[in-house]
Symmetry: C2
Subunit: 380 residues, 2 copies
Amino acid sequence: MKTAQSTILGVLGGGQLGRMLIQSAINYNQDIHILDPDPNAPCKDLAQKFSVGSLKDFDTVYAFGQNCDVITVEIESVNTDALAKLESEGKQVYPQPHILKLIQDKREQKQFYQQHDIPTADFILTDTKQDVVANQGFLPAVNKLGKEGYDGRGVQILRGTDDLEKAFEAPSLLEKLIDFDKEIAVTVARNKEGELIAYPAVECAFHPTANLVEFLFAPAEITPEVEAKAQEIAKDVILKLDMVGILAVEMFVTKDGNVLVNEIAPRPHNSGHHTIEANFTSQFEQHLRSVMNWPLGNPDLRCPAAMINLLGEDGYTGEAYVEGKEEAMQEKGVYIHLYGKKLTKPFRKMGHVTLLDENVDQLKERANRIKDLIKIKSYS
Amino acid sequence: MKTAQSTILGVLGGGQLGRMLIQSAINYNQDIHILDPDPNAPCKDLAQKFSVGSLKDFDTVYAFGQNCDVITVEIESVNTDALAKLESEGKQVYPQPHILKLIQDKREQKQFYQQHDIPTADFILTDTKQDVVANQGFLPAVNKLGKEGYDGRGVQILRGTDDLEKAFEAPSLLEKLIDFDKEIAVTVARNKEGELIAYPAVECAFHPTANLVEFLFAPAEITPEVEAKAQEIAKDVILKLDMVGILAVEMFVTKDGNVLVNEIAPRPHNSGHHTIEANFTSQFEQHLRSVMNWPLGNPDLRCPAAMINLLGEDGYTGEAYVEGKEEAMQEKGVYIHLYGKKLTKPFRKMGHVTLLDENVDQLKERANRIKDLIKIKSYS
């Protein structure tokens, strides 16, 4: 007899997001199979089955999925044709393959917002550098590659005509540069039953050069009106996508209180790492609940929190060590999460720290101090 | 070059305590090797290395330990001679083998308390049933086997002469039955540096027949004086043992406010499971910190909590399923932990639930309801 316990969840990608998903899945006896191209991926040793193979190869993904009951992702750039075939053959695939396909192309993503009245920055589609030059009146703007951009790659700001030279010579977006007050994110989750929850908004502070989240604060310091608007928009996006799973919706709050969708990620996201300790239900458990069609968990914040990404320090490449770890571990409410990566390189995501503090001012002061304290360096 | 990350922690025992230890160790990139006699033990699939073998066999334990840098346990009944040899050869073994040896024998444990002025119930050592009969004036008393008692086995109450017949025919203890007001537990931890922390006391409610903790409430409802006394006693025990690691100290609070040590466990313990969600540092992370000689973590309670053991329902044996799980998952602050055991049998520890609620009265009401809601049954 087939039992609930023997349902296998396949995950495309075995990085840190898969790793933290496994930490949650252990509590539910949920067996997990992982596919990742890297034999030393963070999920190695922790899954019921760990397979090495390309996430972009049709046959590899299709064969992997055939041994699973439910299939999900921890990265968007996967072979969606194989997922669509698995879905058509009766596998549960969440987020649905057509949503992954949409999200793989930032141009389609933006057009989706436009067609569905989701507020977002104005944009122009460009195919060549010449297209960008022809639209230079649109500057200052953000130039984004349609495909393959990730973690700050494939995104650049064109402030004026001097920057035109670096415009992408490929299908891209030219997006009006928003003079925003804050960048926030709201995570929403939805299961097959249609149950829908939204996490409180968080506030992101980006690294000035690497275009990666450097700090995150929860809750966001925004008015109740902006909070309500952001939650409504995030729910609206997942509903209009008709998506099952977890979705991080990154938004700009403009100086006049408007909320505009920037980008979305249909998986656990860097902007939700603090939820492990700070919220009643972590985003990883919520991901599991949503794709397995279990009841969703309460998303409320238990305590104000800051999240600090531990990026490989610039100038260090090689076997990693964590400077300042022991000092940080002595502090109350400091949670270090390392991602099991042996080798560091500049700006590689090596881990994160969550910090809890009921006093929001003290939280910010401590976050800055801990960011300066913990550094990922290399031995050699 | 040898690095901090490549230090291997060997754990004797791969049950639920090892499983929850691994969940914590993942955050620190701490590699763990597990030894367990059961090829389907809860830690299977989750450790960097999982070896099947007897914990009581000298050669097996010795060979296992040689590939580790630090060795710890999640169960007391292990071969301490092999551990002593490993220790003498320079391995870090925590808790120290001589402490494990002491704790394997409840008679030695009691004598240790007596010799070190640790308050405990009066007792008599008995070797035969006849010894018990000769001391029947000591009844009502608890008759405990010196060795091999575990999870309620090897412990029985002798209320009067009618019970003498069942007295143990083996080296045992006869302990004065304490007419206690409450049973509480304090977990303490100590690292090699000598750093020492104590968790707030928790209150245990036992299953009337199985002699297993049925409910646990944190904080214990005791006076500040009793709380202080209990913490002092628990610290005193770990100091007098000169132990490194984590130690659960179970105590009776008598009706006149005395605190007596009942039993101790030199490892993560059932009375500390709530710390995963309810305290700043979980007992599993604290175990890791203490044996690895890392700085200890803050033990404070973040929120009042109840812990409910999920024991195999009486009358059910076979492939397990969890009745009422989905209903419980809908509640805010309910955390289900399943231990990865495929087969259930009456009173087998299959999992636990932690419940968080700021309102202590509501917490108790909800704990009772959830206990009635979730049942571990079998398909067949």
